[in-house]
Amino acid sequence: MPKMNMVQAINLALKEEMKRDNNVVVLGEDVGRDGGVFRVTEGLLDLYGSERVMDTPLAESGIVGTAIGMAAYGLKPVAEIQFMGFIYPAVDQIFNHAARIRSRCRGRYTVPLVIRTPYGVGIKSPEHHSESSEAHFCHMPGIKVVVPATPYTAKGLLISAIRDPDTVVFLESARLYRMIKEDVPEGEYTVPLGQARIVQEGRQVTVIAWGSMLHRALQAVSTVDAEVIDLMTLLPFDEETVYKSVKKTGRVVIVQEAPKTGGFGAEISASIAEDAMLYLKGPIKRVTGYDVVLPLPKLEDYYMPTVNRISKAIEEVLKY
C-alpha cells in the first residue's frame, strides 16, 4: 500500500471521487493551474478540465454562495477557502443559506457541499493564516464539521463528506499536511461521519483531541494509561464514544488549538458535565490556545498547547 501524507491522501480522494461522479466539481482561488497553494488540488485541472476545476475570482462569499447554487442544482461542489482566516466573508452564506436551505423549503432543495480549508498554527505564516475557528461552525445546526488528523482518515472522511447530503466544513491542519505519512489504500473506502475513533485504549484518563492536537496528545500520554479519542467529526460529535470512555476512566483532558473561551472543547466538557458527571473523579481540564489575538510566527509556538502543557493537565487530573 502506498505511503502518503495528508496532501496526497486528500488529493487522491478528490481524484477518485471526481472520476466516480461527474457531478463533483472543485472551485476556489488558485485551485486550478496552480493546484492550490498547498498543492492539494494538484493535477485535477489536467485530469478534469477547467469546467470542473474552477479558478474563481478572489471572493470567498462568492465561492461558497455560487457553490450553494451549484449544489442545489444537483452538483456536488468541493469549494476551497485558501486559509481558514479568510472564511469569514463566507460565514453568511454558510450560516444563513448552506445550513438552512433544506429546512427553508422542507427538503425540496438541499446543499450537498464540502468546504475545505487549511487551518491552524505551525507553518510560520503571516497574520490570518493560522486560525482554528472550528467552534463557530460547530454552533450552527444544519452543517457538519470534520477535522481529520491522519492521512488515512482524511481520505475516508473526505469521501464521506463529498457523498454526504448536507454541507460539510472540512478542516485540514496545515501543520499536518506533510508531517505524517502512513499507508493509504488507493480506491474506495469511507470513514463514517459522526463517529469518533479510539486511537489508544486506556483506563486512567480520557484525552480528547482532533486534528493537529491529536499528535501532541499522543506524545503527552506516552507514559500514562490513557484512552485517546480522535473526535474526527465535531458536529455532530460522537457523544456515545466519549461518554463510554469517561465512564471507564472518570478523568478527562480535552486538547484544542483554538483560544480557550468558547472553543469546541467547552461543548465537550459541558456535555460530559451534564450527561456523565456522576462518573467523574475530578475536574475536566481543557488545554487550549490562549485567549489572545493569534501571534505572528515569532511567538506562535508559545501560543499553541505544548506536549508539556498537556502532560501537566493529565498529571493534575490524575491527582483525583
Binding site: G65, G69, M70, P89, R104, D166
Partner: protein, 351 residues
C-alpha cells in the same frame, strides 16, 4: 501619448407602453391577444392577492408581510419571459413572480403565516424559496447558472432583488462571477426607489442602477418597470442571449413601492404622500388596461368577470391555507439534516 479614451459605454432605457396605453409598434414583442390578457390577469390577481394579504395581516391571520403594490409589471413581465425549465431566485417581495409561474398561492399565504411548509416548492416548479437576507441569493442563481452551463442544459437562471440589494457585497461578487464565467443568468433589479426608509439616491451615487453592469463587463439596461411589455421584452432578450451562451444581463426595472415596506413599517415617517401620489398615473395595470381598451380586448364585462374570478381564486387560497393542519413541533427537527442527529433525537423526546 497623452490622455486617451480607452473605453466608452452607454446605458439604454427601454419603454414600449406609454401611460396613455399606446405601444411602440417597432419594439412591441410578439404577444398574442391571449397572452396579453393573461398578463393583465396576472397583474390583476396579484393585486387582489396582495390586498387580501394586507387585510389578513391586520386581522392577525398573517405575520409580517411585504406588499408588492405598484411593482406587479416588473415581476409579471419578467417572470413571464422565462420557460418552465428555467430557474428563478426570488427575494421576499416576489408575490407576482410566484403567481406568474403558477405557484400554489395558498402556500404563499401559509408561508407568511409563519409556516415553513408554504415553501415546500412543488417538484414541477423551479423556483428557489424566498430569501430574506438582502442580495445573498444572487450568488445562488449565478452558481445554478454555472451548473447549467457545465451540464450543457439549455436553461437560464433569473434572480430578483431591489435597489437596496445592489449595495451588498454579494451582489458584486455574483455579478462578477457571472461575467467571468459567462453564466446564463438574468439579473432583475426592481428599483422601487426605497430600501425601507432609504431613498434610491442615498443608496448609491450612480445615476442608474443599470450602469453597475459596466463594472463587470456585460450589458445593463434600464426599463420602465411599470410597462409590462418593456419588462417582458428586455427579459426575453436577455434569456435568449443567456441561452445562446452570450452571458448575463442586468435589467433595472424602474418602478415604485406604493405601500409600506412591510406591514411592520410606517412609510409616513420618512416620505410624503405626494411623492407616491406622483407615481399613480404610471400604474402598470391602468396602463395595460388602456392599451387593451384601445385594442378592443378590454370591456367592462371582461373587467367584472376578472374581478370576480380573482376574488374567487384568492378566497379559495385563503380557505385552503386555513384548512391546513398546524405544524408539529417535531417538524423543527426533521429538516435540519437529512437525518436527525443523536442529540436531536434526544431533544425530540420533549415533544
Amino acid at each position: 501619448m497623452p490622455e486617451q479614451t480607452i473605453e466608452s459605454f452607454s446605458i439604454k432605457r427601454l419603454e414600449i407602453l406609454s401611460e396613455t396605453g399606446d405601444a411602440d409598434a417597432a419594439l412591441m414583442p410578439p404577444l398574442s391577444e391571449e397572452q396579453i390578457k393573461e398578463l393583465h390577469e396576472l397583474l390583476f390577481v396579484t393585486r387582489t392577492f396582495d390586498g387580501r394579504a394586507l387585510n389578513l395581516q391586520r386581522e392577525g391571520r398573517l405575520g409580517t408581510y411585504a406588499p408588492v403594490l405598484g411593482q406587479e409589471a416588473s415581476q409579471v413581465g419578467s417572470a413571464y419571459a422565462f420557460e418552465k425549465t428555467d430557474w428563478l431566485f426570488p427575494s421576499f417581495r416576489e408575490m407576482a413572480v410566484f403567481m406568474t409561474i403558477g405557484y400554489p398561492m395558498n402556500m404563499i399565504f401559509q408561508y407568511w403565516s409563519g409556516d415553513e411548509r408554504g415553501l415546500k416548492i412543488p417538484d414541477d416548479l423551479n423556483i428557489f424559496p424566498i430569501s430574506i437576507p438582502v442580495g445573498t441569493h444572487i450568488l445562488h442563481a449565478v452558481g445554478a447558472a454555472m451548473a447549467m452551463k457545465y451540464k450543457g442544459d439549455k436553461k437560464a437562471a433569473g434572480v430578483y432583488f431591489g435597489d437596496g440589494g445592489t449595495s451588498e457585497g454579494d451582489f458584486h461578487e455574483g455579478m462578477n462571477f457571472a461575467g467571468t464565467f459567462k453564466a446564463p443568468v438574468v439579473f432583475i433589479c426592481q428599483n422601487n426607489h426605497w430600501a425601507i426608509s432609504v431613498p434610491r439616491e442615498r443608496q448609491t451615487a450612480a445615476r442608474s442602477l443599470a450602469q453597475k453592469a459596466v463594472a463587470y463587463g456585460f450589458e445593463g439596461i434600464q426599463v420602465d418597470g411599470n410597462d409590462v411589455f418593456a419588462v417582458y421584452k428586455a427579459t426575453r432578450d436577455a434569456v435568449d442571449k443567456a441561452k445562446r451562451g452570450e452571458g448575463p444581463t442586468l435589467i433595472e426595472c424602474v418602478t415604485y413601492r406604493m405601500a409600506d415596506h412591510t406591514t411592520a413599517d410606517d412609510a409616513s415617517r420618512y416620505r410624503t404622500k405626494e411623492v407616491s401620489e406622483a407615481w399613480k398615473p404610471k400604474d402598470p395595470i391602468v396602463r395595460l388596461k388602456l392599451f387593451m381598451e384601445k385594442k378592443g380586448i378590454w370591456t367592462e364585462a371582461y373587467q367584472k368577470e376578472l374581478e370576480e374570478k380573482s376574488k374567487a381564486r384568492v378566497d379559495e387560497w385563503v380557505k385552503m391555507e386555513e384548512s391546513v393542519e398546524k405544524p408539529s413541533p417535531k417538524d423543527m427537527f426533521m429538516f435540519t439534516y437529512e437525518k436527525p442527529t443523536p442529540r436531536q433525537l434526544k431533544e425530540m423526546g420533549d415533544f
